[in-house]
Symmetry: C2
Subunit: 303 residues, 2 copies
């Protein structure tokens, strides 16, 4: 490919997989440029002169940190997104892709799974409110550029992600990473049970971060820059996901305790993927059980 | 008053009235500081060192210009708001007030008049979408500061405004200003009719910009920094407003033609003001007919 691709947030969950799949792209992280400073963003574009920008950089964190830092999650994301998008346009970038998150959708909609056109119908869930609203604004900003300048900028809205490069913290981590970590801890301590928050009934939809990287690569190779949800069809209850994880981690006999004093969070938030299937019909996502097994094996081998 | 008050957007519709009412405040406009540049915003705070900030500055314009420039209306407003709010906090400003607009509310809600708690229930009307969404974000940002830092920052959400310092352009101006101008033009040309867009049936709620200035002054004097709608109870159809204007402008016999090929816009968007009445019970807004008459007389005298 003769186009120069710039990937921001290059050392994150998706960026790390993307490096393997698209080694010719240029990956920048906060060590290279501070995207909260307009002068540094301008400098980045002047130095790199990309044709395509994949904007993965964001202030991201777990629910706890989001609730602690509502100002930072809004301001830093909105500033970073605005500067990177604006300088992409000023530097004649041909394709810009923002990677959003299904948490930008309204907390509740009338019909599930959630379609792309439901984006503005209500407020996002309170747990990640600031982050979600700033990310939703990036969708709006991209729409405005396309409307005003006929650019072909777009955004992908993935469901919850997991992967090897996630934060493996039993408290602060994302659900799948934390779940694997809890199983490993239990095994180490010869404990035959794990404890999860809530009662296990909410539905969750997880995609392997490597699949997001694969889709970004496909999108660039086929020049299919659309605004679409990306997810798998595996929308399972927390309890079912935990049982899958126990099975593939050789812990089938473990007991799952539910701490019902902790909130369930949203009961469902699965997103609809007919557009994904239409535009990328040959895309085969990694099955949840295979993804969990592979990560578990790597974690076990590394400790 | 011993507090130093900084007013941004000091030369605008509300700012100009505020200068008369609060002459001791410091008024800045884009000629003094470019609020789109973080370094200039920092410089402004360093030089002025305010205790209270009334943030009126915004990229504001009519429907036509909003539709033409969706990127600018979003980006410039979000950048300006973020920098001014952030530096207010960094400089230990005790009170910050954002002046928003009722266009930030959802295009349609289930019950009218619109209460303050409906803000996030849906997307704003498409005509002023970018402007509205950026302004709505300022409400969110202020909420986040209060949540995180226990600040007493607030926002006022006024209905449509009119005043002497409005744009008096029969095409690009806001409705009341344009209406007065059409009557003056018709008189000059010995023409006994005026033409309005749509069919005259949509309801509109107008407040004199001087009343907003008075309320800002009251708010500061009484230290009542609440998030409230501000409007009058005069919610009238376009046809009724036009007839009021014709009567007080000595043009009662003029005919009103409706250009039904032009859109009506939203059928109603009146906002609920029980909080305004609770916190400022002695506030008496200027009656629409008195406001129009006064502006008409000044315009006639000046041409």
């Amino acid at each position: 490919m003769d186009k120069k691709v710039l990937v921001t947030g290059g050392s994150g969950l998706v960026g790390t997989y993307l490096k393997d799949i698209m080694p010719s792209a240029i990956y920048v992280s906060s060590k290279d440029f501070n995207l909260l400073r307009e002068d540094e963003v301008k400098k980045m574009f002047k130095e790199i002169q990309p044709n395509i920008v994949i904007h993965l950089a964001a202030l991201v964190g777990g629910v706890h940190h989001n609730i602690e830092e509502p100002v930072r999650y809004f301001e830093e994301n909105i500033i970073m997104n605005t500067f990177v998008l604006k300088e992409s346009f000023n530097n004649k970038v041909e394709r810009f892709t923002g990677i959003l998150s299904s948490c930008i959708y309204p907390d509740s909609v009338t019909t599930y799974p959630i379609k792309e056109d439901k984006l503005l119908e209500g407020a996002p869930h309170e747990n990640l409110f600031s982050y979600s609203y700033a990310k939703r604004c990036l969708a709006i900003q991209i729409d405005m550029y396309n409307k005003k300048y006929n650019t072909k900028y777009n955004y992908l809205i993935p469901c919850n992600l997991y992967g090897e490069f996630d934060k493996f913290d039993p408290i602060k981590g994302h659900f799948v990473g934390a779940l694997i970590e809890k199983i490993i801890h239990a095994k180490k301590n010869k404990n035959n049970s794990i404890t999860l928050f809530g009662d296990g009934t909410p539905y969750r939809q997880f995609m392997h971060a490597k699949d997001v990287a694969k889709l970004i690569n496909k999108m660039i190779l086929t020049d299919k820059f659309y605004n679409i949800n990306i997810a798998t069809e595996e929308n399972y209850t927390v309890d079912r996901i935990a049982k899958i994880a126990l099975r593939v981690c050789d812990a089938e006999n473990f007991q799952i305790n539910y701490d019902k004093n902790k909130p369930n969070g949203q009961m469902r938030k699965d997103i609809e993927i007919s557009k994904l299937k239409k535009y990328f019909p040959d895309f085969q996502p990694i099955k949840l059980e295979d993804g969990i097994k592979q990560i578990f094996n790597k974690r076990i081998a590394s400790i």
